[in-house]
Every structure is written in structure tokens, then in C-alpha cells.
Amino acid sequence: MVLCALLLLGFTLVEIADVLCRNLRRPWLNANEFAAGFFVWGVFLGMGVAVRRDQHFRLTALAETMRGARRTLVETFNRLVILGVALSMVFFGYRNYLNGFGSFLMPSLTPIAVLYAAIPVAGGLIALFTVEELVNGWRHGFEGTGKALTDPSHLPIT
């Protein structure tokens, strides 16, 4: 979470520097590359953090109305789906990352792989946090793990 905040701070500073340089008639040509880098990494690392904090938007909180074995079954199934998507992000994202060395960001000619790398890294984090939730859930039960759907801090930005 601290890393996400630092990325947002970095991104803010890059935008400030970009506007200042432009107004001083010395445009900073790489500003957009840096801003896009901070932004993309922030999005995908934030995606992982949101899994840990159980903050992602859900259509229903069906599982939270259940108890006992049924709840364990549904919660396990849901997390296995997340785990599957996360592992796809790791595996296929890594292949994109390798391909990314053939394309370049302009004007610095940095391989676009530096941005593509955010997806497998995020996938790894999501997989890690999901396994942690699964193990904790199996050991201590899933009751109390879900956040109230209507808590403002756990709603999507609409």
C-alpha cells in the first residue's frame, strides 16, 4: 500500500514537473513515459492490494449470507476462480513481458516490457494473497472475512 502511495506521489510530481517545464519553454519529453509507468504499475499493484483488503467490487455478497460448510464451499470456489485468473496473469503476462523487449516507448526507446512486467507481478501478488485467504479461511472459517457491501470504503468508484 505504501508502494502504491509512492507511485501516486511520483506520478503527481511528474505531472507537476511536466507542467512547469512546459511553461518554462523547456518541455520534458519523457514526462508521459514516466507518468504512464507510475500509473500502470499503480493500477496493477493496487489491484493486488485490493484483493488483500477485500475491496474489489462485487455484484453480490451472496457468500456472506451463508454459514458453515456451504459458505466454505462457495468462498473456496470464488477464490479458486481468482487464483486461476491470477495465474493466467502470471503465465501469459510473463510471455507478453518477454515479447515486450521487441517494442519500445518513445522517445526514450525503453523496452515496453518495463510496463508489461506489472501484469505478472500483480498476478503473483494476487495469487499470493488469495492463497493466504484460502489457508486462513480453511483454518479459521470464512465468517468475518467479507466486508459489508455497502460500506463506502468498499465500493467501486462510480
Binding site: 501516486l8 492490494v49 474489489h56 451472496l62 470464488n78 481468482i82 515479447n99 510496463l115 463506502p152
Partner: protein, 448 residues
Amino acid sequence: MDTNSIAIIVMIVTFLYLGYQGVPVAFALMAGALVTTAFFTKISLPSIVGQMFNGVNQLEFLAIPFFLLAGDMMTQANITARLIRFAQALVGHLRSGLAHVVSISSMLFAGISGSMTADVAAISTVVMPHMEEEGYDPAFSAALVASASTIAAMVPPSIMAIVYGAVGNVSIAGLFLGGATPGLMVGVGLMVYSYLFGPPGMRKRRPTFGELMGATRPALLPLMIPIIIVGGVASGVFTPAEAGMIAVVYIIVVLLPLMARGHFRRLPRDFMEAAVLYSLPMSAVASASAVGWLMAYLGAPDIVHGWIESVSGDNRVVIMYLMVVVLTIAGDFLDGVPAIAIFMPIIISLSQLGHIHPVHMGVLIIVSLAFGLITPPYGLILLLSSTLAGVSFARALRQAVPLYCVYFLVISVIIFFPNVVLWLPRLILPTSVGCFPSPSGSGYICPP
């Protein structure tokens, strides 16, 4: 039924099944896309995962974190309360005074954060307790707060407008300016409804000029934020992202030292919260982009295009009403941001069929999606406000139904009178709606 149609149905059913099972939307969407790709297409799976990256790697999106950070800082530093006091001084003495305060406050706060959720949370906690003291039915308060908060989706700096502009390659400045009039119409419509049919509340005396000035002065500096954002973007001096950044800098350098010095200690926490908050809609956009791209590959826009064309021909009005129905239903089940990314290929195709101006269509889509968030079976924003008001969703819904008239009216006005949307962009930033300078050197020539 051909393979592509089956693939589209499998993708939608997978998403809905997983979504209603409780899998987060971003992952349910991605799971649907991966399953469909693996079993029904020859597309490589890395390219589907790569679409997640392409979905968020757009410079226009850089504005979103700044607006969320600005809204969060304003709420946490309690500066929002000054806007509400200002609204109270303006309209609090009228019949249904507090109901008007909700509408005005929503319009003011919407101009800062662009987020409906932030709006509901900020207004509910400050105004709802007073409404209850004055005898307002909490269900009515919940319905009104939810309805008024949808203004945030329409007026600048609407997050939906940023996403729509980025995904659909439409001028964001044009959408900002075009959405201002419908947002104002919804706000005024809710005030008129409350005045005529709402609970009377406690009548208060009209504030004296001194009292009015006393409430205006503390609100003046926060009210500069919408002016900075709209003025900067509309004048072409800043991009939306730069305008958002300047709003954040303005809050940190001007507002906090003057109004909430103690809040500086909490700034790192604001950054941390905003950093996670902006990743939530963006991760949904990343997955929705993969789904939207796959939908386009499978020919979904052509299927829907053919279906709507068979009903409407190229009648602009019928096409737009059908889109309102489709997107209001979509807004019931999906957050507006991913819905835009999923439906964009279809929207573009139908805009071309009906020769509809992209900014006109964009504003209509945004209003429809916002409306979907307060309609059953799953109006997310109404659900949030009903919980904050401590009433059941069903009770809040009963109070919200009459308020839908305001939306029907606004949507119909938008459809029948495109200039309601287009007049302001044409007046302030003509190039944002496709106008070009007249060769004679005076004025602009605009497409019909």
C-alpha cells in the same frame, strides 16, 4: 445459432454466474474472457491478458487518481461541510429546505470529485441526521441523496466522462461541458420535485445578507476547484490530468493551510487510500477492455447493430431510446466504468448508424448508466444510501420511483434536443464537438 453467438452467450453467462456467486467483477469478467477465448476462438491467451494492459495504458486516465485524491482530501479535511453550509444558507429557508440543500451540495461536490460514491458518503453523513431531526422520512432522504449523487457522473470532472472519452476517442472536454446542462437539469428537477411533493421540513427564516456572506466566504476557496478544473480544461490550457493535478496542489498549498492545518498529518493516509481507490475502477476497466475487445472480435456490435437496425431503421430517436433501455439495464448489474468499456464497440457502431454526434451520444450513455445505479433490481448507489440512512432497500426504492420522472424527462430532452448537450461545448470550446474555424476568419463552422 453460429459459434460466435454461442461464444458471446458463454462469456456473458460465465461473467454473470461468477459475478452473482460473489467473485469480484474484475476477475469474473476476465474469467469469462479467458474461458471463451480458450474454447471458442483461435486468439492466443497472452493477447487477451495483453488487452488488460492496453485497456488502462491511456493518458486520459491519468486524471482519475487526482480527482479521487482531491475528493478524498476535501472530505477527510471536513472542507465539504463548508459547501453544505453554503448550500444551506442559499436554499435552507425554502419549503423542503434540506432536500434542496442535498441537491445543491451534490452539484457543488460533484464539481470536485466526479465520484458518486464519494458524494453519497459525504452528503449522507452530514445532512441525513438533520433531515431526520426535521421529520423527513429516512427512505425519502436516502432516495434523494442517491438520485442527487448521480449528478457527479454528469458534470465535470465526471470519471465516467473521462473513461468514455478515453475508450471511445471522444473529446473529454466536450463531454465535460456537454454533461453540465443535463446535470444541472437533474439537480433543478429534484429541487422542483421536492418543493412540490417532498416533505415540508421545518420552515426557517430567510438568512440575512450578513449571514449569507458569512456562509459564502468559507466556501469561496473550495468553490474555486470546479472553476480551475472546468476553466483549465475548457480553455485548452490544461489536459484533464493536469487540471486534476493542479486541483490537488491547490488543496495542499492553499486550502489545507488556511482551513485544515491539522490535516497535513493525514496526507500520507490520503495518498494511500487514493492509490488503492483509483486502482479499483481501473482494474475493472482492464478486464472490461479485454471483454469489449473480444466482443468486437466475435462480432457482437454487428449482432446488436443488426438487431437494433431491424427495430429502428436509422431513426436516431428510436436508436437512442433503445440504447437508454440497454444501458440502464446494464447499469443495474454493472458499474458504469466497466460497462462503458464493454459496450463501446456497440455504441460506436450505433452512433454511426443513426448519425448521432459522439458527444451527444456520450452524454446520453453516461446519464443512462448513472440512472441504472439507482434503479432496481440492484441500484448500487441507492443501496449505499439506504444503508447509510438505516432503511431497507425496498423502502428507499418506493420513495425513489417518483424521482425517476426527473430522469425520464431529462433523458427525453437530451434525445429530442441535441443542442441541450451541444450548446455549451460549441460556445466555449467549439473544436471539442467537431467545429472548425471558418475560412472567413470569424467564428466556427459546426456539423449539424
